[in-house]
């Protein structure tokens, strides 16, 4: 327990010290050079704005976070299901995989304004759809890669046991694909928050962090805009850490097998 605590401290301490030093330097530089707050506000100004509207920012984070979470779950489930299907039916896999690879290269938030026009202005659905598509891509790609890996030894071993395709899937492919799934999930959880916040830039419901950023900038309240950006950063960090924690709990320290 204490050893684990010490290791945790050793991991956390350097970035913490670095972060504090960075903020200090930022504060001093802004004050010394007298940069205008619309160019770069001092950390203390952002802090004050955050304190003044902490309730609103928390509420906005909750709404953007809900969009990110729902979209992420839908995207992950779809990604896993389709990857499993593509593994079982190589013909389908061959047809779908290149399309998804192309999807990975596309800026999916660009879809947001188009999806907005399809629904009522009060609907959260278009945002959640953008998130789901963004999250789907890395999960599908990684899970498919993990499922299609079968080392020659394991293939021959299962052949010597006269194992069925379903048995190979259950005993080798699925457990072997778990680390790949979590790699995909980590990428997807970060993308989900980005997609949820950025999709709010294009109008629609005015309730999330993205909307607050655009409205604060419109009102030239730059410290407030930065405070909302900080909220978005925290939300992204939360999603990332949650996926990391889930990975630790499920696969422990089992590293990704080397290619």
């Amino acid at each position: 327990m204490t050893a684990a605590g010490r290791r945790f401290g050793a991991i956390l301490l350097p970035p913490l010290v670095f972060g504090v030093l960075f903020l200090l330097l930022w504060q001093v530089l802004v004050r010394v050079t007298g940069v205008k707050s619309y160019v770069l506000p001092a950390p203390s100004d952002i802090g004050a704005a955050l304190r003044a509207s902490i309730g609103v920012i928390l509420d906005a984070s909750l709404r953007s976070g809900a969009n990110a979470l729902v979209g992420l779950l839908v995207g992950v489930v779809l990604g896993v299901l389709l990857a499993a299907l593509a593994t079982r039916m190589p013909l389908l896999g061959g047809a779908v995989s290149p399309l998804v690879a192309a999807l990975a290269a596309m800026p999916i938030v660009a879809l947001a304004p188009l999806l907005n026009t399809m629904y009522s202005p009060l609907s959260t659905l278009p945002r959640r759809e953008v998130v789901a598509i963004s999250a789907f891509v890395p999960v599908f790609v990684n899970v498919l890669r993990g499922l299609s890996r079968l080392s020659p030894v394991h293939r021959e071993l299962m052949q010597s046991y006269a194992a069925s395709g379903g048995q190979v899937l259950r005993t080798i492919r699925v457990p072997g694909a778990l680390p790949y799934f979590f790699t995909g999930l980590r990428v997807a959880s970060s993308l989900a928050v980005i997609a949820a916040v950025v999709s709010e830039y294009f109008g629609g419901l005015e309730d999330g962090l993205g909307s607050r950023i655009t409205s604060s900038v419109g009102a030239t309240d730059y410290p407030a805009a930065w405070a909302s950006v900080l909220g978005a950063v925290m939300l992204g960090l939360l999603f990332f850490l949650a996926s990391l924690l889930l990975e630790r709990v499920v696969v422990g320290n089992r590293a990704l097998p080397v290619a």
């Binding site: 394991h154 021959e156 052949q159 046991y161 006269a162 005993t171």
Partner: protein
């Protein structure tokens, strides 16, 4: 499923009977003749090693016996059945050059894998796995995961797994290739013991001449391009102990195998044979080697 009783009962059919087997691989630029006109019979409980230069088809021959590859021509019978029937009936255990364990399972559940795949119930599986881990000296590591074990320990887990369904035949492809000399000799001694206790026939691929001689009733020397059997050398060393490695006839047999690998027959083969025979007679001869001789 086969039982230990069946192991000793099914002594009528040879453990392996290979007749006129050839294997040609078609590759992008033409064909590779990996094996040509192989004839080999392995008696029940007999220990046979395959030795020969890299690429002479040892692994290919082992895979053909295991029905992981089909021969281009010729027939293979395992315990009187077709190779395919024997594979479906789980009559053999196979250990690969890499241990091929599943890293996410414990040592015990790795050993249980074949039993699990063939619908053996949980309690029986567990009991059998622990019994096998006892046999290979890893009982205390049942709850560990493979990455926590040394290479030699992983190989022993793979051997335990191969023994799980009480096979009458063990097929082993360079199982000790990656081990240091000391571990290797200890593993060899253990394998001799395990083979004796389970009375399974063993076909063992190796690159080490002393290893082949120490373990085997017969050493099959193969030559490359195309892969053929150059010579089959009987080993009459009696019960294997650590003293076996110091015995003069151990060295004499090593010399014979080495000469056969070089494609030469020993000039004074007769004298060498007489020497070996005298030494064997001096020792108390065992039923084991008699059985092996009977199979010749």
């Amino acid at each position: 499923m086969s039982t230990t009783g069946a192991t000793t009962g099914a002594t009528t059919a040879p453990a392996v009977e290979i007749r006129g087997v050839s294997k040609t691989f078609t590759v992008r630029r033409g064909a590779v003749v990996a094996l040509e006109a192989i004839d080999l019979t392995v008696a029940p409980g007999e220990f046979v090693s395959l030795i020969g230069p890299s690429g002479c088809g040892k692994s290919t021959l082992l895979r053909i016996i295991a029905d992981l590859l089909t021969p281009t021509s010729g027939t293979v019978e395992v315990g009187g059945k077709t190779a395919q029937r024997a594979r479906l009936d789980q009559d053999y255990g196979f250990t690969f050059q890499q241990a091929g364990l599943l890293d996410w399972r414990t040592v015990r559940t790795n050993v249980e894998l074949p039993l699990e795949l063939h619908g053996v119930d949980r309690a029986t599986r567990k009991a059998r796995a622990l019994e096998l881990l006892e046999l290979v000296g890893l009982f205390d590591f049942a709850g560990h995961r493979p990455p926590q074990l040394s290479g030699g320990m992983q190989q022993r887990v793979a051997i335990a797994r191969a023994l799980a369904e009480r096979p009458t035949l063990l097929l082993m492809d360079e199982p000790f290739g990656a081990l240091d000399e000391m571990t290797r000799e200890r593993m060899q001694a253990e394998l001799v013991r395990i083979a004796r206790e389970t009375s399974a026939a063993v076909v063992f691929v190796t690159h080490s001449i002393p290893e082949a001689v120490f373990l085997s009733d017969r050493v099959v020397v193969m030559s490359p391009r195309p892969g053929r059997i150059a010579e089959i050398i009987p080993v009459d060393l009696g019960d294997r102990t650590e003293d076996t490695r110091e015995a003069p006839h151990f060295y004499a047999t090593i010399t014979r195998v080495r000469e056969a690998l070089r494609g030469r027959t020993v000039p004074d083969a007769g004298a060498l044979e007489a020497d070996i025979r005298a030494d064997v007679a001096a020792d108390s001869n065992t039923a084991d080697t008699n059985a092996a001789r009977g199979a010749l």
